[in-house]
Amino acid sequence: MAPTSKKQLGNVLVIGGCGFLGHHIVNLLLSSYDCKISVLDLYTTRNRRPDSDGVGYFNGDITSLDALIPIFNKIKPDVVIHTASPTLVGGNKQMFYKVNVEGTKSVVEACKQTGVKALVYTSSASVISDNATDLINADERWPIIPPKSQTEYYSQTKVCYAINHYGLKGNAFKPDPNFSQTHVLITNQQAEAEIHVLSQNRTGSSKFLTCALRPAGIFGEGDVQMVPNMMNVYRDQKTGFQLGDNTNLFDFTYVGNVAHAHCLAAYALLRTSALSTAPLSHEKIDGEVFMITNCEPVYFWDFARMIWKCQGSTKGTEHVWVISKEVGNILGTLMEWGFWLVGKKSKLTPREVKYSCMTRYYDCTKAKERLGYEPIVKLPEGIRRAVKALEDQYQKEGEKKSQ
């Protein structure tokens, strides 16, 4: 693309720009947009662009408004893309809440005080899931699940929740039991933060504009959760299990496409802010949420099998032991009671069977129509890239160890 045809974004601040999604946004801004890029993150050492790219890096804690204001004043961003969320490993409820909800609130406040024109907030498609009911072709009309209904279920879920949401942890039946709880917690906080961000649209003296994106199941290079977990299943040679009949469709979204959607949203908000009149309701972007997917829902186990295939698996499905939902339920019930009798907790329960057979896919027509969004990387290519990146990383780590 010729530089002149690049879209202009002015001064862009990417909060969390050294994170998984954030650094993909920085890369895309560098390659395809005409703008000055700044990154604000708690630590700016990882995923850092070389100095020659001219990206400004700022260390800062978003939970402190006093720390944010001087940085904002220095950067003078036109648009802020807020992707920061603490990593799921290690951390407690208070810390998560502080970053997700209070941090977002202070970002909003800093934007308003320093005359930022637009804010794009990264939410999650999980905000409309109660983790028990199927989501079939769900779109933005689906309601946010209040924390009560979500937590009601999360206390009961341990195993397959994580299989569904972030892949399998090491063993087909044994993901990190605390993981799903943390995830639900964060989802609730994202919902709270999302509501706050949208409520602040067109408020304050600068009348700044906001919108929120809800990506579903992000994966890609730099992924530390979903793809690595699924890759471990292949390394542990545990690809021979399948819970459920594998008719449940799932959305997995390549991180580069999510980054693309963020840039489009930022651009669209800036364009809106340059208008003298408010846009028509069916073209509105500010104050709106958008589902972001790869527009390629696939059957859950097919995604895992494609990852294994990229890792070198030549197996078909002949070796797979399919535990049907019904049998899984009976087995789960028996195991639950059996383990209960000996005072232990079963790894397979009917509830977990239910989760692994859940359908969760979305309709992202709204993003297509209003943002002009269209995935730029297809799912198979996205998976190949993600697996390749991780394998390279493992190889490097292996070389380091052997030295």
């Binding site: 699940i145 209040p146 209904s149 696939v298 995604f303 197996k315 078909g316 896919y361 799912l379 198979p380």
Partner: protein, 483 residues
């Protein structure tokens, strides 16, 4: 015919026989053709229609009276064109002008063609083509115009192909060429028929603004036939699989038929199936635009047959050795189900899509792509017939905690009652057990059972009775021996 021969098969597959009988007995055509009111030439036309196509003939003859004859004549004309194109015994310099000027032939009154090779199966139709021409002139002028226009387009397209030396020697090259061929022989038919449906006010005029929809209808049928006829076409020295696809899996087209290459052949047909599946959402969209039941049946039946055929050929090694067909029983079942409404047609598509997905294997080079194509069909069906209602969900998860609807209230009341029922049931079971045990223990006591001894022995840890010891224990307990 060979019913006796098929008897063992039907004994083993009673469902198949059931479907056939049901179709024959219960199928109620929306319209029925009335031969008594037809002219001799029209009767003759229907005779050739039966002769040239058994499957299409049946659905055509049940069409709305307004379109019955126009569609039948359109079909016969295209079949005539096809018979000339197909015939390799006609030299190119003779064939090409015939194809290009076929629309002009329609203006003639007594044109017939006797130069087809003796083996050409539909040569009789062209020998007696005057009956078709006669009936064509009796059609409403607007229908004549549409038929003539599309005959011309199709004839020219076929002539281009016949002229294409590269294609004749090496077969179809690119996927684009392949789809262009399907456009000439099938996509145009879809477009022409759509014009007739809309002119007769039996379909939504919006279909004319979305020509890609009728195009997909034709493409999907044609592609399915091409995939299925791989072996037959190969034996006839024709190849429609584009080189762009097969060359990814084998070096020479002939290699597809070497038994040792079966995995590569399957990978090739899979990629062809994947290409065809991409047309499905548009086909379903098209069918949503049909207003009349008889027209709906006419367009839907071939489509469901195609998806079922596609499922049958998908990852089926027999494609390289013969013709894979769906069973007659399945065909009857599909006709019954599809001649209802869009919902039942979508259900069939979903069923077969899931079967295709089930047969899909990671060994296939296009494993994930096929999975995605299946998922997209399912998502499209979901967009036509959503299974979730966001309004209801909003009520369920209202912002101020769950808002109860009347249904919920009813459900809760029902659950409460159910719980009470279960409790009462348990109580009565326990009560009955208690009473019966009481009665039994009471009766035993009356008959002289010594519970006092039994209890003291049990407390000592003796769980099983010892018959010899029993007497002595009793004696010891009571202080005397009763002998």
């Amino acid at each position: 015919m060979g019913l006796l021969k098929q008897l063992p098969y039907f004994l083993l597959h009673p469902n198949q026989l059931r479907s056939i009988i049901q179709w024959k007995l219960w199928h109620d055509p929306v319209h029925t053709r009335d031969p008594s009111k037809e002219s001799e030439s029209l009767k003759q036309c229907f005779y050739y229609l039966d002769m040239t196509s058994r499957s299409f003939s049946a659905v055509i003859q049940e069409l709305h009276p307004e379109l019955l004859v126009p569609v039948a004549i359109f079909y016969l004309i295209l079949r005539g064109l096809d018979t000339i194109e197909d015939d390799m015994t006609i030299p190119l310099e003779k064939k090409e002008p015939l194809l290009r000027k076929f629309d002009e032939i329609l203006e003639l009154d007594d044109w017939t063609f006797t130069e087809n090779g003796p083996d050409e199966k539909d040569r009789e139709l062209l020998v007696h083509f005057d009956c078709v021409l006669k009936e064509f002139k009796l059609l409403k002028p607007q229908y004549q115009k549409v038929i003539s226009e599309y005959t011309k387009k199709m004839g020219n397209g076929m002539a281009d192909y016949a002229n294409n030396a590269e294609h004749n020697i090496h077969g179809v090259q690119s996927t684009k060429d392949y789809e262009l061929y399907c456009h000439y022989v099938a996509g145009l038919v879809g477009a022409g028929l759509t014009r007739l449906f809309v002119d007769a006010e039996l379909a939504n005029p919006a279909l004319l603004k979305r020509p890609e929809l009728s195009e997909s209808m034709g493409q999907f049928l044609q592609k399915t036939n091409i995939i299925r006829d791989l072996r037959e076409d190969f034996d006839d020295k024709r190849r429609f699989y584009p080189k762009e696809i097969w060359s990814k899996h084998v070096d020479n087209f002939d290699d597809l038929f070497v038994p040792a290459n079966i995995d590569k052949a399957l990978a090739t047909t899979s990629e062809m199936v994947l290409n065809a599946l991409d047309n499905v959402p548009q086909c379903l969209f098209y069918m949503a635009g049909i207003k009349d039941q008889s027209v709906f049946n006419f367009v839907a039946i071939p489509q469901v047959m195609a998806i079922a055929t596609l499922e049958a050929v998908f990852r089926n090694p027999k494609v390289t050795t013969g013709v894979v067909k769906i069973t007659k029983g399945d065909a009857c079942k599909l006709m019954m189900e599809s001649s209802q409404n869009l919902r039942t047609v979508c259900d069939i598509f979903q069923r077969y899509t899931r079967r295709i997905h089930k047969k899909n294997t990671p060994k296939d080079p296009n494993f994930l792509e096929i999975s995605i194509a299946c998922g997209q069909i399912e998502q499209f069906i979901e967009s036509i017939f959503p299974s979730q209602d966001p309004k209801k969900l909003t009520l369920l998860h209202g912002a101020d905690g769950p808002v109860t609807t009347i249904e919920d209230e009813e459900k809760r009341r029902q659950e409460k009652e159910d719980k009470k029922d279960v409790f009462l049931l348990l109580l009565s079971v326990v009560g009955t057990l208690f009473v019966i045990s009481g009665l039994m223990i009471g009766a035993a006591y009356l008959l002289g059972a010594r519970f006092d001894i039994a209890f003291s022995e049990l407390t000592k840890g003796k769980l099983s009775p010892d018959r010899d010891a029993a007497q002595s224990i009793v004696a010891k307990h009571d202080g005397h021996v009763e002998l």
